[in-house]
C-alpha cells in the first residue's frame, strides 16, 4: 500500500513534470524548424530523412549544357537558380506562388548542384544517381529531351526521390511513362497540337498537304502523332514525314524530300539547335518561300537564332512568352527579376524552371515535411496555384499541370517594338479543354512506398 502510495506520489510528481515539459515542448514547436520534429514520425524513404537532417535541402539539377539542346538547357538552369535565390531570400514573387513560404523551404536553406546531361538519358540518370547518393538530394530536376525526362521519371520512382522534369514535350512523360514521384509543369505534344491546330487551320484554310520533319525519339513521334490527329479534322493530310536523328548536322536529304513533296505546310518538330539548323537550311532550299512553316513546340531562342526574317508569320505554340507580362502580374514580376539578374528577358525554359521549384516549395510547405509521400499527397491535392500564366493546378491522375498553351505568330521586323519583340501572342488557350483524359496515354502511377 505504502509502495502504492509512494508510487502514486511519485507518479503524480513525475506526471506534473511530464505535463509541464509537454506543454513547454508544444509551445516551443513553432520555434523549431518545421519538419525537424516530423522526421521522427515518418519512416526513412529515399533520401529522407538523411537529406534534410541539417540546415539545408539539396536540389540536384541535371540539364544539357553541351550538345544540340545546350541553349534551352542554360535558360532552364537560370530559371532554377533564380527560383532558388528567391526561396532563400523569401522574394514576394515566389511567395505569391507558394504562399506558405517565408525563407528557404520549411526553414531550411536551399542548396543545389548542377551537372551536364548533354541531353543523353544515360548521363542524366548518372547525374541524378550521383546527386542522390552523394548529396542526398531531396529533389532531382531538369531535362530538355523527353528521353531524359522519361529515364529520370523511372529513377525518381525507383529511388523514391521527387523528380521534376524541365522541358519535356512528349506525351509519354505523363502518359505511358508517367511516374508517381514525377510532376510535369510544361505543355506537351497533345496540348500543343490541340491548341495550335484550330489556329493554323483557320488561318491557312482547309485540305492542306503537310510535310513533317520529326526528330527520331519519343518527343518527336508523339508530337507528330498529335499534330496529325488534330489537323486531320480540317481535312489536312500528311504528304511526308521525314524522321531525322537527334543532333543531325545536315538536313539536306530530308529537306530535298520536303521541297519535292508538293506540301503546302511544313511542320518542323525539331527542338534546340536542331530546330535552328533545320529552319535555316530549309530557307536555303527555298522551302520557306513555298510552304508555310509551323512550329508546334517552339524551342527557346528560336526567333533570336534564326532571325525575324525567317520567323515572320510563323505560327508557334509555347509555354511562356515575355509579353505575357501585360496580362499576368506574376509574369511581369518574373520577367523583371530575371532580366535584372541575367540581362535578357526569359524564354519559356526559364519560366518552367522557376515554376517547378516554386511549386515544389509550395507542396513541401503544405505537406509540412520533406517526407516524399506527404509531398506527393500535397501535389495530388490539386490545389489551385497562381503562376506566371494565371491559375494552374496539377491533375492527380497523371501528375500533369493543367496550364494554358500560348499560341504566337512571328512578327515582321518592322512590327517589332524592341530587339526581342519577336512574337505576337494570338491566344492563350486554357489547358483543361486541351488535355486528353488522364488515362488516354496509358498512365499508371506506381506506388508511393
Amino acid at each position: 500500500m505504502s509502495q502504492k502510495v509512494r508510487f502514486g506520489y511519485h507518479t503524480s510528481r513525475r506526471g506534473a513534470l511530464k505535463m509541464g515539459a509537454g506543454l513547454l515542448g508544444t509551445a516551443m514547436v513553432p520555434l523549431l524548424p518545421r519538419g525537424a520534429h516530423a522526421a521522427e514520425n515518418y519512416p526513412a524513404i529515399g533520401t529522407y530523412p538523411a537529406g534534410t537532417a541539417g540546415d539545408t535541402v539539396f536540389i540536384g539539377i541535371t540539364v544539357p549544357r553541351t550538345g544540340t539542346y545546350a541553349v534551352p538547357g542554360e535558360d532552364l538552369l537560370k530559371g532554377y537558380q533564380l527560383a532558388i535565390d528567391h526561396l532563400n531570400s523569401g522574394d514576394p514573387l515566389i511567395r505569391a506562388i507558394s504562399p506558405l513560404t517565408t525563407k528557404g523551404v520549411l526553414g531550411k536553406k536551399v542548396i543545389s548542384g548542377v551537372a551536364d546531361s548533354a541531353a543523353k538519358p544515360n548521363d542524366a540518370v548518372q547525374n541524378g544517381s550521383r546527386f542522390i547518393s552523394e548529396n542526398k538530394a531531396s529533389v532531382i530536376t531538369g531535362s530538355v529531351s523527353s528521353a531524359e525526362a522519361v529515364a529520370l521519371n523511372k529513377l525518381g520512382d525507383r529511388e523514391r526521390v521527387i523528380y521534376l522534369p524541365g522541358i519535356s514535350g512528349s506525351n509519354d512523360t505523363t502518359g505511358k511513362d508517367c511516374a508517381r514521384y514525377s510532376f510535369r509543369e510544361c505543355f506537351y505534344g497533345q496540348t500543343a497540337a490541340a491548341a495550335i491546330a484550330p489556329v493554323i487551320t483557320k488561318n491557312l484554310g482547309k485540305n492542306k498537304k503537310v510535310a513533317y520533319l520529326t526528330p527520331d525519339y519519343t518527343y518527336g513521334h508523339t508530337v507528330h502523332q498529335s499534330m496529325e490527329e488534330y489537323v486531320k479534322q480540317a481535312g489536312w493530310t500528311t504528304i511526308t514525314n521525314q524522321v531525322c536523328p537527334l543532333g543531325a548536322p545536315d538536313y539536306s536529304s530530308y529537306l530535298l524530300n520536303i521541297a519535292n513533296s508538293g506540301a503546302d505546310v511544313f511542320v518542323n518538330i525539331n527542338f534546340g539547335n536542331d530546330a535552328v539548323q533545320s529552319i535555316k537550311q530549309a530557307q536555303q532550299f527555298g522551302i520557306l518561300a513555298k510552304q508555310t512553316l509551323v512550329v508546334p513546340y517552339v524551342t527557346p531562342f528560336l526567333a533570336r537564332d534564326v532571325g525575324p526574317d525567317l520567323m515572320a508569320g510563323v505560327f508557334a505554340a509555347t509555354d511562356f512568352w515575355w509579353t505575357l507580362q501585360d496580362r499576368y502580374p506574376l509574369a511581369k514580376q518574373f520577367v523583371t527579376a530575371f532580366q535584372a539578374k541575367y540581362g535578357y528577358r526569359p524564354e519559356w525554359g526559364a519560366d518552367t524552371g522557376y515554376m517547378q521549384i516554386a511549386m515544389w516549395a509550395d507542396a513541401v510547405e503544405r505537406a509540412k515535411t520533406f517526407y516524399p509521400p506527404e509531398i506527393i499527397k500535397a501535389y495530388e491535392a490539386g490545389v489551385t496555384l497562381q503562376s506566371t500564366v494565371g491559375d494552374v493546378h496539377f491533375r492527380p491522375e497523371d501528375h500533369q499541370l493543367v496550364r494554358p498553351v500560348i499560341i504566337m505568330r512571328g512578327k515582321k521586323k518592322a512590327e517589332m517594338t524592341s530587339a526581342d519583340d519577336y512574337y505576337e501572342v494570338l491566344e492563350v488557350v486554357p489547358g483543361a479543354g486541351l488535355m486528353q483524359k488522364p488515362d488516354a496515354f496509358g498512365c499508371k502511377l506506381g506506388s508511393v512506398t
Partner: protein, 291 residues
Amino acid sequence: MLSWPNFVSQVFNGLALGALLSLISSGLTIIYGTLGVLNLAHGAMFMMGGYAGYVVFQATGSFALAVLGGSVVMVVIGVAIERVIIRHFYNRPDEDQILVTFGIGIVLVELVRLGFGSATVQIPAPDWAMGVTSLGFLIYPTYRIVVTGIAAVALLALYLVLYRTRLGMIVRAGIEDSGMVDMLGINVNMVFMLVFGIGAMAAGFAGIINAPVVALTPDSGETILVETFVVVVIGGVGSFPGAVLGGVIAGEILSITSMIDPSYSQVMLFAVMTLVLVLRPQGLLGQRGRA
C-alpha cells in the same frame, strides 16, 4: 518520296555531301597512312577550323580571308600539336595514340566552348553565293553547289601534292616504309610534322567552307568524326583515293536511303560499312597489311 525528280535531286545531293566528307576524310587517312596515328581529334579540328574562320571573318568581314586565315591557323595548330604531343607517341602502342588524340579532341572542344559558349555561330555565305540555283531538274542552294566545287578543287590540289610533288612522293614512301625513308637520309620527322599540319588543315578547311551551311557549335565535330571513320573504313584506311570514293559512297547512301525511309539513312551507312569489313576488310581501295 519516290519520284524521278526527287531521285535525281538526292543523287546530286549525295555527291555534294560526299565531296565534303571526302575532303575531311582525306585528312584523317593521310595522317593515319603516313604517321600510323589514328587521329580521334580530327572531328575537333574540323570544328576548330570553322571557329578559326569565324574569328577571321569577324575581324575582316571577308569570306575569302576567313577561308585562307582559318586554314593557316589550322596548319599552325596541327604542327604545334604534332610537335608538342603527337611525336612523343609514334613509338607508343596504338591504344596510347588513340587515347591521346581522343584527349586532345576533348581539350580542343572545351577550349572552344570556353571561348565561344555553346550557342551556335555562323559565317554567312558570300553574297554572290547566296540564294537558290535552279538546275532544271532540281532547285539547290547556290552555296552548296559552290562548296561541292571548292571541295573537289581542294581534293584535286591534295592529289597533286601527294602524287605530283617530291613531298608527296616522300609521304607516299613514308606510308609504305617510313624506316627505309629515314635510312635514305630524308628527315621523316619533318615530313610527319608537315603531314599532320596538312591533315589538320584539310579538316579545318572543310570546317570553314561548311560553316555557312551548318552553323558551328563546339560539338559539331562529333557526328562528323563518326561519319569520317565510316568513310575511311569503306574506302580503305590510309588510302587517299579510298577516302574520295568512300566519301562519295557515304554521301549517296545517306541521300538515297532518306528518299525511301529517312530514319534508315544512318543505319544503312553502318550496314554498308559492316558489309565492307566482312567482304573486304582492307576497304575498297585499301591494301592488305598496310593498315
